[in-house]
C-alpha cells in the first residue's frame, strides 16, 4: 500500500499519497496555484518542471525560502500557505520582472488572447511595472515553418524539453548565461541550419509568442482575390477534429461540414479532402508493403524490412538528419499532401481545363512541417510547387474569424468531387496508428483475396508511445510497430539499426498523438485529454463512413482506371513517389 502523507494547505487538512507535489495536493482541494514553466502531459508521460519561472512559489512553514510548488514534494506535517502576503507579493514581483523583459506588443502579437504569460499576468492583477530596464533583443529567425522571436522568450524551456527529451531532435537548448540566456540552436545559428525537423512541438507548447508558425494567410488572401487564379484547397483529417476548439466548441467536436462551408465562403474554387489522397497513399504504400513482404517471404535477401511509413514530413526530416544511413527503409510513397498536389495539378487541372500555372493548391494542415514539405525542390515542377503552401488549423481559424464567420452557425456542406470523396481509412490517418490500420485493411484483402469482416484493428489504437501488434493475414503473422513522438521513433530505429527489430511494418508520426497533436493545431495548453478527444472524433467519423477501406473508394478506382494505371506503376512512380536525402552534413555553423 502506498504511504499517505498528512499536511496542511491553507489551513485545510490534506492527505495525499507519498510523492505528490504541493501543486497537485493543492489542486486536489480546489486551490489552483498559478504556474508558467510547468507542463504536464500525463497521458504521454511528458512532464516538465524545471522550477525556473518561480510563479508557483508557496510558503512552507519552517523553510527559509519560498518553495516552487510544482516540484516540491509533500512531506509529513508540512504547513503550507499558497496565498499569504509574502507569497502574493513574490509572485507579482516575479511576474513584473518577467514582463519587464518582454516586448509590449500584445496588440499585434500572434499569441495575444492565447498567451499563458498574458493570462497569468492578468490573473495576478499586474497593472503597473515597477521594475523597468534593458530588454533583451534578438534577431528574429525566420525558417520555412517556424518563426523564433526570442525577445518574447521567458525561459520556461518547455520547447527545450519537447525538442530534446520528447523528440530527441536536439535543435534547441539554453545558451549564454544570466540576462543573456536564451533558448536557441547551437551557436545561435538559424533554425533552418540546425537539425530542426519542423515538427512544431516547440510551438505547440510555447506559452508566449516567442515561437510561432510562419503565417501564409496573407498570401492566401491575395491569391483568393486574384481572378486569374483557380484556388483549390485540401484539408487534412486532423483539422476537422480540432478546428471547432478555436470557436469555443468542445474538444473532439467534428466540424467537417462547417469547415467545408467556411472554405467555400472564403472563396476557394474547389474544396477537396486530403483524406482522398490518404486513400491514394494506402494504395501506393500498401502495394509497396505487400511487394516487399512477398519478396521477403520468397527469400529475397536484399529486401528492406520493416517498411516505415512516410506520410509525416517531420519524421522524414528526422531520419534524413539523424538516420541518413537508413534512408532506403521508409516507403517511397509521398505524403497525402504531396500526392494530392500532383494529382490536382496534372489530372484535375486538365479535367477543369486550366493551365498548371493558373492553379493554386493550398493545404490546411495540423502541421508546421508541411509548410517546409511544400517547398522541397523534389516537389516542384519548373519551380512551381505541387502544393503552393500550407496553412495550419490555427491560421484557418483566424481567417474564418477575419471573414466574420461564426463556424458554429454555418451549414454543413459536402466536399467537392472528384478529390473530395474518402473512406474511413483516410480519416483515421490523423491519429497515431491510423495509417497502419488503414494500410492493414487494404493489404489484408489484397494479400488474402478475402473480405475483412471487422475493419477495427483495436490493437493498433491507443496513446502509448510505442505499441506493437501482430495482425493475422490469414495464416501469415504480420508484426506491426507504431511510434508517435520522435523520441519513441528513435528507439525503434535504433533497434532496426542493431538488427533487433522483429517488425514487418512500422508507422511513425513525429508528434505525440499523431497529427491530432500536430504543431499547427489549436493549443492544448498542456491538457492531453484534448488529444484523446480529437482521436476519438476521428474514429467516430470512420465508424460513420459507408466505405472504410481505401481500395473501395470509387474515385480512387476511377483515378487508376483513367489516369494512373496501377499502384506503383510508372506514372505513380513519377507523381506519387519520392526519394530521400542525407542531411546529416547540412548543419552549417556560421
Amino acid at each position: 500500500m502506498e504511504k499517505m502523507i498528512k499536511l496542511t494547505i491553507d489551513k485545510k487538512q490534506v492527505e495525499v499519497p507519498q510523492g505528490t507535489t504541493i501543486l497537485e495536493a493543492a489542486k486536489g482541494i480546489g486551490v489552483d496555484i498559478p504556474t508558467l514553466c510547468y507542463m504536464h502531459l500525463g497521458d504521454m508521460g511528458i512532464e516538465h518542471k524545471p522550477g525556473g519561472c518561480r510563479i508557483c512559489v508557496v510558503e512552507v512553514e519552517g523553510r527559509r525560502n519560498l518553495a516552487p510548488s510544482c516540484n516540491s514534494k509533500c512531506e509529513q506535517g508540512m504547513v503550507i500557505h499558497t496565498h499569504n502576503m509574502r507569497v502574493l507579493n513574490a509572485r507579482k514581483t516575479v511576474m513584473e520582472l518577467m514582463l519587464s523583459d518582454h516586448p509590449f506588443d500584445c496588440l499585434v502579437c500572434a499569441k495575444s488572447g492565447n498567451c499563458d504569460l498574458q493570462s497569468t499576468a492578468q490573473q495576478l492583477g499586474v497593472r503597473e511595472l515597477h521594475y523597468k530596464g534593458e530588454q533583451s533583443t534578438y534577431k528574429v529567425d525566420y525558417s520555412p515553418s517556424i518563426i523564433r522571436d526570442m525577445d518574447k522568450c521567458i525561459m520556461c524551456r518547455r520547447c527545450e524539453t519537447m525538442c530534446n527529451d520528447v523528440q530527441t531532435v536536439g535543435a534547441l537548448s539554453a545558451v549564454n548565461r544570466g540576462f543573456q540566456s536564451v533558448v536557441a540552436p547551437a551557436f545561435e545559428m538559424d533554425l533552418e541550419k540546425s537539425t530542426c525537423t519542423y515538427c512544431g512541438q516547440c510551438v505547440a507548447v510555447c506559452p508566449t509568442g516567442a515561437l510561432t508558425e510562419k503565417d501564409h494567410t496573407n498570401q492566401l488572401i491575395r491569391d483568393l482575390a486574384d481572378p486569374k487564379k483557380t484556388v483549390v484547397v485540401q484539408t487534412a483529417p486532423a483539422v476537422r477534429a480540432a478546428l471547432g476548439e478555436e470557436f469555443g466548441m468542445e474538444p473532439g467536436t467534428l466540424v467537417t461540414g462547417k469547415m467545408v462551408s467556411a472554405l467555400r465562403q472564403l472563396g476557394f474554387n474547389s474544396v477537396f479532402d486530403t483524406d482522398f489522397a490518404a486513400d491514394l497513399t494506402i494504395m501506393e504504400e500498401g502495394t509497396e508493403l505487400l511487394d516487399r513482404l512477398k519478396r521477403h517471404l520468397d527469400g529475397d535477401k536484399d529486401v528492406k524490412l520493416p517498411i516505415l511509413t512516410s506520410c509525416c514530413p517531420g519524421w522524414v526530416n528526422f531520419f534524413e538528419h539523424h538516420f541518413p544511413e537508413m534512408k532506403d527503409i521508409p516507403s517511397t510513397a509521398r505524403s497525402p499532401q504531396q500526392m494530392f498536389g500532383p494529382i490536382a495539378k496534372n489530372y484535375l487541372a486538365k479535367e477543369m481545363g486550366i493551365k498548371r500555372e493558373d492553379m493554386i493548391v493550398v493545404s490546411i494542415m495540423p502541421c508546421l512541417a508541411k509548410k517546409y514539405e511544400c517547398q522541397r525542390d523534389e516537389f516542384k515542377v519548373d519551380g512551381d510547387p505541387d502544393v503552393n503552401y500550407s496553412i495550419s488549423t490555427r491560421e484557418l481559424a483566424n481567417l474564418i474569424k477575419q471573414a466574420n464567420m461564426d463556424l458554429k452557425t454555418l451549414p454543413d456542406e459536402e466536399f467537392d468531387n472528384p478529390l473530395g470523396e474518402s473512406t474511413g481509412a483516410g480519416v483515421i490517418f490523423g491519429a497515431t496508428g491510423g495509417v497502419i490500420e488503414a494500410a492493414a485493411r487494404t493489404a489484408y484483402e489484397v494479400y488474402t483475396g478475402k473480405t475483412l469482416e471487422n475493419v477495427n484493428f483495436e490493437a493498433l489504437r491507443g496513446m502509448e508511445g510505442i505499441r506493437s501488434a501482430t495482425v493475422d493475414f490469414d495464416g501469415l503473422d504480420v508484426n506491426i510497430g507504431i511510434a508517435h513522438g520522435l523520441g519513441n521513433a528513435r528507439k525503434l530505429l535504433e533497434d532496426i539499426r542493431d538488427g533487433k527489430s522483429q517488425y514487418h511494418a512500422i508507422e511513425i508520426m513525429a508528434c505525440p498523438g499523431g497529427c491530432i497533436g500536430g504543431g499547427g493545431q489549436p493549443l492544448h495548453h498542456g491538457d492531453s485529454s484534448i488529444l484523446k478527444k480529437r482521436a476519438a472524433a476521428l474514429y467516430r467519423e470512420d465508424e460513420g463512413k459507408a466505405i472504410r477501406k481505401s481500395h473501395e473508394n470509387p474515385y480512387i478506382i476511377k483515378l487508376y482506371e483513367e489516369f494512373l494505371g496501377k499502384p506503383c506503376g510508372e506514372l505513380s512512380h513519377k507523381l506519387l513517389h519520392t526519394h530521400y536525402f542525407d542531411k546529416s552534413k547540412d548543419i552549417e555553423i556560421e
Binding site: G52, R54, V94, L97, A174, R177
Partner: protein
C-alpha cells in the same frame, strides 16, 4: 629531511610566483652551487605562506628566519650572509609597522600570532610535489588508521563528533552529509571535491591545492571508505593551472605508493581520483550545477531534493565537499574529534581560512579559530587599515555576502553569527573597506558580478539581479529617488525568497546589508545627490575657489575638454555641464584652489 643542515623554503604559491619566486629559487640554487653547499643546504619550493602582502617569502630553517619581499638579486647575499656567515640579512626582515621592531621569526608577527593552521598546516612547510614530505608530516596516517582500525560508521561518528561544517559556504555538518551518502545503497557512488572556487579575491582552496594537494586526496579516500565509493572526482577551475599540475603530480605519486588505486594499504579498499575542469562559471560552485557540468550538461542548478547524496553524478549517490573541508579531515582523524571540537565556537568548530583583502595592511591568507572577532582579524592580524584611514565596513562571504560595520567588530566570527548579522561565512572572502569607499557603488560592484554569473535559469536571479543593478546604477548616477530605495528593498527580498539556488538566494545581500547599515548614504545619494566617499563621479563637482586661484591658467591648459575659463591672473571657473570629472585640473593646481564638492 635530516641529511641537510639547512633548508630554504620559498613560497611557490601563484602570487609569489608572479613576483618571481622561481627566479629566486634558481638564483639561490646557483649561489649554493657556487659555494659548493649542495649537500648542506636544500632549497624547497612550498605552497603559500599566506602573508601575500609581503611576498615573495623566503624562510630559512632551522632558525625560522622569515624574509619578506625578497627579490631574485637578493639570493647571493642571503647565501653569503645568512647561510655561510650566520648573519641575518636585516634589510629583508619584517618590520612591525606599529613599534618599528624588526622581527625575524614569523610566530612573533601580528599576522601569525593569532592564527591556528589546520587546513593550511602544510602550506609553506613542505614541497607539495613530494609525497614523502607529506608522509613525513603524518600524511596518509589518517587513511591508514581508518582502513586498519575504524569501520566506516566510526569514521562518520568521529567526523560528526568533531562538529566540522562545510567550508564551501553552506556550513552543513560534514559528518551528517557523509552519513546520508553512506546510507543510500547503489552499485556505484562518488566522492566529489568542489574546487570551483569563484569568489572574487578568494584563494583559500587554490592555496591548499597548490601547497598541500595530498591532504585533499587522503580525505577523499577516507570519505570514499565511509560511503562505499571507489571513485573520486575533483572539479577544479581550468584557471588554476598550478593547482592542477600539483594535483596531477600528487595523484601520480599516491598511485605509485599504493595510496590510491586498488587494495589500498592491503585493506581491500579501492579508490581512485580523476579531475574535471570547470570553465570558470561561478554558479558551478553550487553542487547540483557542478554535477551537471561534470556530466557535460549546461552548468545550472536543479531543485533540491533530490540531494546529491540520493541522486548525484550520473544519477548515483554522490558526496560533494569543498577543498578546505577535506583538508581538515586527516587532522580530525589523527588528533581526534575531541581535540578538534575544543577549537572554535559553540556551534562552529575548528578554524576557518579567510582571504583578507581590500584596504588592509596585511593582505593575505589567514586561518583563525572560529569565534575570533572581526576586530582581531582586521586590526591584529590584518594590521589595521591602510594609510591610517578610518575603517568603514568589511564584506564577508564573497559577492553574495553582506557588509558588516563598526558595530559588528566584536562579533565572534562563525557561521551563525554572520548570518544573524546579515552576512554569511561564504567560502571565506573578507574585503575591508575604508572611508573612501562608497557603499552604494560597492553594492553595485557585487551585483555586476552576480548579474554576470547568474546562470539564467530562474526569473528572479536572471531578471531581478539585472534590475537591482540598474536601480543601483541609477542611484550612483544621481537619478535615484526615495521610491527607488523601497523598490530596492522589495526586489532584494523577493529575489532572496524565490531564487532557485544559493546564488540568487544570497545575491541581494550586499544591497540589503548596506541598506540596513548605510541607509544615510543611500539617502544622501538620492536626496542631496551627494556621494560622501567621492566615488560616484556623476555626483561630484570640481570647483575652483576664487580666493585661492591666482589665475596661472595651468588648469585650463590641462583640461582635456576645455571647460575651464578665465583670464590670466584672474580667478578661473569650471563649466560643470562640460566637465568630465577627470581630475586633471585638481592634480595640476599648485595652489590647492580646486576641490571636489
Amino acid at each position: 629531511m635530516e641529511k641537510y643542515k639547512m633548508h630554504i623554503l620559498i613560497c611557490g604559491g601563484t602570487g609569489c610566483r608572479a613576483s618571481a619566486s622561481e627566479a629566486i629559487q634558481n638564483n639561490l640554487q646557483d649561489a649554493i652551487k657556487a659555494k659548493g653547499l649542495e649537500d648542506e643546504v636544500q632549497v624547497v619550493m612550498t605552497g603559500c605562506f599566506g602573508f601575500c602582502e609581503k611576498g615573495p617569502i623566503v624562510k630559512i630553517l632551522p632558525d625560522n628566519t622569515f624574509y619578506v619581499e625578497v627579490k631574485p638579486e637578493d639570493a647571493e647575499e642571503l647565501i653569503e650572509e645568512h647561510i655561510i656567515k650566520g648573519r641575518k640579512v636585516m634589510r629583508l626582515l619584517y618590520v612591525d609597522p606599529e613599534n618599528k621592531e624588526t622581527i625575524s621569526d614569523s610566530k612573533h608577527m601580528g599576522f601569525y600570532k593569532k592564527q591556528i593552521r589546520i587546513a593550511l598546516r602544510n602550506c609553506g612547510f613542505i614541497n607539495p610535489e613530494n609525497v614523502d614530505e607529506y608522509i613525513a608530516r603524518d600524511g596518509y596516517a589518517a587513511l591508514g588508521k581508518c582502513l586498519a582500525e575504524m569501520t566506516p560508521q566510526t569514521v562518520i561518528d568521529e567526523i560528526k563528533e568533531s562538529g566540522l561544517r562545510g567550508r564551501g559556504g553552506g556550513g552543513f555538518p560534514t559528518g551528517l552529509k557523509w552519513e546520508f551518502a553512506a546510507k543510500n545503497e547503489a552499485d556505484q557512488k562518488y566522492v566529489v571535491c568542489n574546487a570551483d572556487e569563484g569568489d572574487p579575491g578568494a584563494f583559500m582552496d587554490r592555496s591548499i591545492l597548490e601547497g598541500d594537494p595530498h591532504s585533499v586526496l587522503e580525505a577523499m579516500a577516507i570519505c570514499g571508505y565511509t560511503m562505499g565509493a571507489d571513485k573520486g572526482v575533483i572539479y577544479i577551475r581550468a584557471e588554476y593551472p598550478l593547482a592542477i599540475t600539483r594535483l596531477k603530480v600528487a595523484i601520480k605519486q599516491a598511485r605509485e605508493y599504493g595510496l590510491l588505486g586498488n587494495d589500498i594499504l592491503g585493506s581491500g579498499f579501492n579508490f581512485d581520483v580523476e579531475m574535471r575542469y570547470g570553465a570558470g562559471a561561478f554558479v558551478c560552485g553550487e553542487e547540483t550545477a557542478l554535477i551537471h557540468s561534470m556530466e557535460g550538461l549546461r552548468g545550472e542548478p536543479t531543485v533540491k531534493p533530490p540531494f546529491p547524496a540520493e541522486s548525484g553524478y550520473n544519477g548515483k549517490p554522490t558526496n560533494v565537499n569543498n577543498v578546505e573541508t577535506f583538508a581538515n579531515i586527516p587532522v580530525i582523524i589523527n588528533k581526534g574529534a575531541s581535540w578538534f571540537n575544543k577549537i572554535g565556537s559553540e556551534k562552529s568548530k575548528g578554524t576557518k581560512v579567510f582571504a583578507l583583502a581590500g584596504k588592509i595592511n596585511n593582505v593575505g591568507l589567514i586561518e583563525v579559530p572560529m569565534g575570533t572577532t572581526l576586530r582581531e582579524v582586521i586590526y591584529e592580524i590584518g594590521g589595521g587599515i591602510k594609510d591610517g584611514k578610518k575603517f568603514k565596513a568589511v564584506q564577508t562571504g564573497g559577492p553574495s555576502g553582506g557588509c558588516l560595520t563598526e558595530k559588528h567588530l566584536d562579533t565572534p566570527i562563525d557561521f551563525d553569527n554572520l548570518i544573524a548579522a546579515g552576512s554569511m561565512m561564504g567560502s571565506g572572502g573578507m574585503i575591508v573597506m575604508d572611508e573612501d569607499d562608497c557603499m552604494v557603488s560597492m553594492a553595485k560592484f557585487y551585483l555586476e558580478f552576480t548579474v554576470e554569473e547568474s546562470c539564467g535559469k530562474c526569473t528572479p536571479c536572471r531578471v531581478g539581479n539585472k534590475r537591482l543593478h540598474e536601480l543601483l546604477d541609477k542611484i550612483t548616477l544621481g537619478n535615484g529617488t526615495r521610491e527607488d530605495l523601497d523598490l530596492l528593498r522589495n526586489l532584494s527580498t523577493v529575489i532572496k525568497d524565490t531564487s532557485l539556488c544559493g546564488l540568487g538566494q544570497t545575491s541581494p545581500n550586499p544591497v540589503l546589508s548596506t541598506l540596513e547599515n548605510f541607509y544615510d548614504e543611500y539617502i544622501s545619494h538620492v536626496e542631496d545627490h551627494k556621494c560622501a566617499a567621492g566615488q560616484c563621479k556623476a555626483l561630484m563637482q570640481y570647483v575652483i575657489d576664487p580666493e585661492l586661484c591666482v589665475g596661472c591658467t595651468l588648469c585650463s591648459r590641462n583640461c582635456p575638454v576645455d571647460c575651464i575659463a578665465g583670464e590670466r591672473k584672474e580667478a578661473h571657473v569650471i563649466d560643470a555641464s562640460k566637465c568630465i570629472k577627470c581630475g586633471a585640473c585638481m592634480e595640476k593646481c599648485k595652489f590647492n584652489a580646486i576641490s571636489i564638492q
